[in-house]
Symmetry: C2
């Protein structure tokens, strides 16, 4: 990712390199509290160079969070239930995809929902985050029209699902859902409990 010796003075694509390097660091450590100077070091540029591509560190974090919502949305729409026409399978596939995304990108997931990223205007409720919410809405509407799910306010149901998945993902990332504390199948059972609240 960083072949600093090959570039004489101008990097060429420093902006992309900064983003990729930051993502790399987040994958290695499990937090997003990396240092801009460390990113610069790895990218083989001076610590002032990033400021030609981002106004400040918050802007970089902002960009990373937006990329995260992109990837989360893609992960959700890519979820392939075994029987797509079975609403329960579709729900569980999406829930699993959501959880897997968080487990695969813990630092990025935390950053996406951190207050730090939220400060910068439209990160949280951007169109990509709402698109992910829309995947949920669409599924629930389909389930209701098929007569499988209770006819309640869809946005309330979607909020319940989102909160549950958000909570489960964070608790898992933070290592709080230890089997010896909450039981071996607590996670699966938790999702089923919510599902039963959705189903008729």
């Amino acid at each position: 990712m960083q072949d600093a010796e090959k570039r004489p003075y101008h990097h060429g694509d420093l902006r992309r390199t900064i983003i990729e390097t930051a993502m790399d660091i987040m994958n290695e450590e499990k937090g997003w509290q990396f240092t801009l100077r460390e990113v610069s070091r790895r990218a083989g540029v001076s610590h002032a160079a990033p400021y030609k591509h981002f106004p400040d560190k918050a802007a970089l974090l902002n960009e990373l969070a937006l990329l995260g919502f992109d990837r989360l949305y893609e992960a959700l729409v890519a979820a392939k239930p075994r029987q797509p026409n079975v609403i329960r399978d579709a729900f569980l596939a999406i829930a699993q995809a959501y959880l897997d995304f968080g487990k695969s990108n813990p630092a990025l997931y935390r950053l996406m929902f951190s207050a730090e990223a939220g400060k910068a205007a439209d990160v949280h409720l951007n169109e990509r985050a709402l698109a992910a919410f829309g995947v949920l809405i669409a599924l629930l509407e389909r389930g209701q029209s098929e007569g499988k799910l209770r006819n309640r306010d869809v946005r309330g149901q979607a909020t319940a699902c989102w909160a549950e998945m958000h909570g489960v993902t964070l608790l898992t990332i933070d290592g709080l859902l230890l089997p010896e504390k909450v039981g071996p199948n607590a996670l699966d059972n938790a999702l089923l409990t919510l599902l039963e609240g959705l189903e008729k």
Copy 2:
């Protein structure tokens, strides 16, 4: 809280003052990224003084998080449902108390579940956090024995409730549950959806 001029050299109760000052700062700003030097300044001591009471900043954060779990537990057991013998009322009262705690102490709540606090050993799954989880378990067991709730794995149900409340609380704190996006009663409806998954 800080009358620096009254104390000549020795503070007397600096440890407590540091904790209280840190809590004050967290209440003012909505984050826990305060500076140890700022705490010292407010407390009217040198920036080296805190190191006589805490090994490092992480230890102070650790202590604050533990205090947070104490308060959360107390808030949950203090929840007074209108009709305590009605399991649904008891559930909603606890959920409301949990959410209210988070809304009243956003910075502290975030700190309690932050990876930063989690690093320090036993913060997350300490006896107080488990005590709060126990409040949930007890309620669900009562509901099952009364025949009001489905006879499923109690720890799975408790995990579902905890994740839902954790998710709802964080999404609320972060300002993501805007009425114009998720609907006016999405929050209440979300809790009812989960409740229907618990009830027979």
